[in-house]
Symmetry: C2
Subunit: 646 residues, 2 copies
């Protein structure tokens, strides 16, 4: 296998021929934050190949490449020994820390009230009586009796022991006069005992919570003893070079070795985040005894190495929707090998565990009267409408635009991401703020929505998303038929390259918002409801710390309803997974939820194309759907003194 | 690690320094049948060290060693490269095949009547309906429904899937129009689905059944589809060089690395037998989907890598008596990694799963009125008395004599073993027959009992086991105070070395039979019964194809009762394990049995030493206990015209 050596660190990695340099960089343990996630668009992963044979897998973006420099994400290692110089990145360390905060919304606001800490994995303190000749009990018999004494629920259940627990039991029970700590995983109908240690070790018990998104992966480290979230980290899914959406990943999985590669990339992404979290908290990864993982149905199939092929083919039957807990070692998670891995149950091929987790953060499924809408905007948009009586869900393919994918200067909500933007109506100049108040590196979901809405409201783009070439602005740059908007001009950019968004990028955003909006209106229509029938609208997604709902309505992403009905709940999939990790009751609720949701297939509806096409405009071709913003849009349109295109 | 190369085969093995050459020979995959199991007594494993550094771990028996030759079992490899010449053994291949027959008693005689084939692991043919858009079921949902349709019992149980099964499901269900084969393991309260394959694969499903003895290991290959036993193989437990009985093994486990070495040796012994069985039947070891393993409590602890220390120390509390099914990969068994490993439940520290398996071959525990005795004579003797109302058990340390251990010319019941012996009253010459009718290599349990009884009945030994030196016989050889009996003189022996038994060997037999007899009479006394209260006596053990019960009474191994009360049932532990493997009902019976038996500790009884000492004579100091043989013994004693010692 080719060996890639990195300068100046001296680190190296052995990788199969054809591996992208970016993947080799990750395997060598070097942090290089390619803000586009390896799609070859952001240019942040430029490296210099000093020696050895490499091959570009895509043509580099024009004007971005210095002599000898290649994009690590689109350049493959061929064979032999390759030496690559990786430039130092600035603000990286800060970036990851600030980026975490960006993902964290106030916990108390989000969590439903009235639940008990009752985690799926727990450490219990046992006082195990000594062995006695008369009673003929084995060590494990005595452990079982001590456990049964702790809880009525447990005493009724079968207790099973892993070999690892059996092997330490004899010494553990005798080292501290029978005072011992048992580590338990709650499986359906039984307790799995994975460890027995001497003395009181109950203060050290951790779980991880994973939102495995198509584009972004978030991992949270939780103290299961207290329920406290210790830290959260996010990164791009290392599968991105294999395709930006689930359909292209499913296609990639059909290649020889493709499925295993995708599985490996997903697992590696999670493991890297786990190790960073564990290192940051100075705990050993082996002290992590449970994992709750939520993802769309395809992501879960890829993580488990299940062929995803039939998710894509009618009648869209996945291999598994709900699975029993697995062991960490089976899934290759680098935590306690016997840790319980709980997968959030999926509803259908395109309605995944992210939504059954996310719904746990809302009252939607339990409200006895009011009907609400839940919208989770990820690379797949997933929506659920209902109340305690009924639940109907659907999915749409939004693409990664709101996570920064497919946008020239897009990035995920991390340090240096522009999260808020205003646009000067006269000059077109952008005023922005970044996550962490550092120099800008790109723009994240909340910034994209702000930018698009403000460009529309200032007349710099028309309802079709085209930039106004007719007004002289140094921030609109044209090149033949193509135009782009300079969010940060070259001279203000730390890389001396402008941070810009092209019309092609804007079109990707329009397609994403059109998919989400048309899905919500079509689903409402299918069940005979008007938008005004909705009591609440929960909006979830990895946009950033906040989402300006007013602006989201201006661009037509969400329906134009009374503002107090809306609630932005951030990464609800992650938060719901956390609830499952710390509460057996929420695990049960989630399983019940998943079975209750009726999955409807929108693409089969003949009205779909009409709805979608209408929603491709800002905010919509039918301004009657957006009464509260129609006036402002019309005024802006008038101010734009006739664009070159329209 | 040192490398040992073997001539003439050219095979080699890498082993840690200090490993015996015999173990390296086994690891290299060379069959060398050391009939004493590596105790350094039989001399069958002589090899020539051609080059390299080795060290004897024990002094070789006098007069056995040619120049340059060492015993492979008592010589340790030091370091670097060692080259060893292994002489060809004759009759080896035949030996193993005949040896199998020796272990097999007529099945119909042994098995209780009226049971259904209902194995713990099964392959079921499923007709899984195709996926339909409307019903929203996953592949596994449809498998589960098809399974539930097969059995009412199953439809009530939770079904859990291994990752291996999940990974093949999608293709398997679509390759043969939904006709698929599911491989199931029946765990308590749930069905574990470990494989899904396309088409009808129900004809290929195998299990192994293991009797893991302290001295001898027997493995049986079973067709779980039909219940047919395909083949049985036995070998010595490769742990023997670490100690000949459970106490010495427990001590060995306290050394650094000792427990892991013992675990490895047990697993390797089983795996070698599995591979031979699978190769012989031309099946792949991965087609073996269950294992039922019975052994004494210490053997099971060592197999699982559990510290056996506390089995030996008062109050004798083992780590585990009854365990849930494990996976083959956890135990390192080289079969399907997800195969279910079912361990026969143990009763106490010295009353193991071999006895709960063996009892299944009898009516002892179910007889409503008659009280019976079950005696399993292995390196540990284990006894149970009872009926449907009560069950009491105890154990005694017999040592390996009846399996050929600790006897100069002893060997297990395999090809070339002398299984029957008569002794000429006048000349002392032995007439014998061997298993497989081949040249004699040693003597097995049934032969040892025959020999001892006949030497006694012909007056060539006295009741204390001393040879009669006073009568001139070419078959009694003296060397100072020591004497030995030449069973096969040098000139008739294929190795040109006599096959002989020393007085020290005879003493080991006396100790073994005394332990068994005193345990049975003491247990009877403790529960207030006389031997004549027993309706049946089941005798089990690895003596060979048959056991001459008359002779066993003559030497005082078993009580002198009406002959029709006795039944020799051979390796009942293996046969009972077979019953468990093919019948869920027997698994349940066994678990119930184990919980019913009251374990009593004989060594705590002050009468123990008296009983034992009396039983050290042939048949006993108190001939009143042996009325039917007393006359014959007295006549023989008179014929022995006064030995030099008595």
């Amino acid at each position: 296998m080719p060996t890639v050596e990195f300068l100046p660190s001296g680190l190296s990695a052995e990788v199969p021929p054809g591996t992208e340099i970016l993947e080799a960089i990750r395997q060598a343990g070097i942090d290089l934050d390619a803000s586009c996630g390896g799609q070859g668009t952001c240019g942040a992963c430029l490296v210099r190949v000093v020696a050895g044979r490499v091959e570009p897998s895509a043509s580099p973006p024009a004007g971005e490449i210095d002599t000898g420099c290649v994009q690590a994400c689109t350049t493959r290692v061929l064979d032999g020994r390759v030496t690559v110089e990786v430039p130092e990145q600035t603000g990286r360390e800060d970036g990851r820390l600030v980026g975490e905060d960006a993902e964290r919304l106030p916990l108390d606001d989000l969590l439903p009230g009235g639940w008990d800490l009752d985690p799926l994995a727990a450490r219990c303190l046992l006082q195990v009586p000594p062995a006695r000749l008369q009673d003929g009990l084995s060590d494990l018999d005595r452990v079982e009796r001590a456990l049964a004494g702790l809880s009525e629920e447990w005493s009724a259940q079968e207790v099973v022991y892993t070999l690892s627990a059996m092997r330490t039991a004899a010494e553990a029970l005798r080292a501290s006069d029978g005072l011992a700590t048992a580590t338990l995983i709650r499986e359906p109908g039984r307790l799995q005992l994975i460890g027995i240690e001497a003395g009181n070790r109950t203060s050290s018990v951790h779980g991880i919570v994973v939102d495995l998104g198509t584009t972004t992966v978030a991992v949270q480290l939780v103290d299961l003893g207290t329920g406290r979230i210790l830290a959260t980290r996010t990164d791009y899914n290392a599968q991105i070079p294999c395709g930006v959406d689930v359909i292209s990943r499913i296609n990639y999985a059909r290649r020889a070795g493709g499925l295993e590669e995708l599985r490996r990339r997903a697992v590696d992404t999670i493991n890297r985040l786990i190790h960073r979290l564990a290192d940051g908290q100075e705990i050993h990864a082996s002290e992590i005894v449970s994992a709750v993982i939520s993802g769309n149905t395809t992501m879960i199939h890829l993580l488990l190495g299940l062929p995803p092929e039939y998710i894509r083919l009618e009648p869209y039957s996945p291999t598994v929707l709900e699975s029993s807990p697995l062991r960490a070692a089976e899934v290759d998670l680098e935590i306690d090998p016997y840790a319980g891995v709980f997968l959030s149950p999926c509803v259908g091929s395109y309605l995944g565990g992210d939504i059954t987790a996310g719904l746990l953060c809302t009252d939607l499924a339990t409200d006895a009267t009011d009907i609400s809408l839940f919208i989770d905007i990820g690379t797949n948009g997933e929506l659920v409408i209902g109340n305690a009586e009924f639940l109907v869900g659907c999915a749409c393919s939004a693409g990664p635009a709101f996570e920064g994918g497919g946008i020239d200067c897009g990035m995920r909500a991390a340090s240096g991401a522009i999260e808020r933007v205003e646009v000067d109506p006269e000059t077109g100049r952008a005023r922005y703020s970044t996550i962490g108040d550092v120099a800008p590196r790109g723009i994240c979901g909340s910034g994209i929505i702000d930018l698009l809405a403000n460009l529309l409201l200032t007349g710099w783009i028309d309802p079709a998303g085209r930039l106004d070439r007719s007004r002289a602005s140094p921030f609109i740059e044209t090149d033949g038929k193509r135009a782009r908007y300079l969010l940060v001009p070259a001279e203000e950019s730390p890389t001396r390259k402008p941070i810009a968004i092209s019309e092609a990028g804007i079109e990707n955003i329009l397609r994403a918002k059109a998919a989400v909006y048309s899905a919500s209106s079509l689903m409402l229509a299918q069940i005979g409801l008007a938008p005004s029938d909705l009591a609440k609208i929960y909006v979830a997604g990895g946009f950033g710390r906040f989402l300006d709902l007013e602006k989201a309505i201006v661009i037509g992403l969400i329906p134009d309803l009374s503002r107090e009905k809306f609630r932005y709940i951030g990464n609800a999939s992650l938060m719901g997974s956390y609830l499952v990790a710390v509460s057996g009751e929420f695990r049960q609720r989630q399983l019940d939820l998943a079975r209750r949701i009726t999955n409807i297939e929108l693409s089969a509806d003949p009205a779909y194309m009409d709805q979608y096409t209408g929603a491709l405009f800002l905010p919509h071709t039918d301004l009657g759907n957006f009464p509260s913003v129609a006036g402002a849009v019309a005024r802006a349109r008038a101010r734009g003194r006739g664009s070159a295109n329209g």
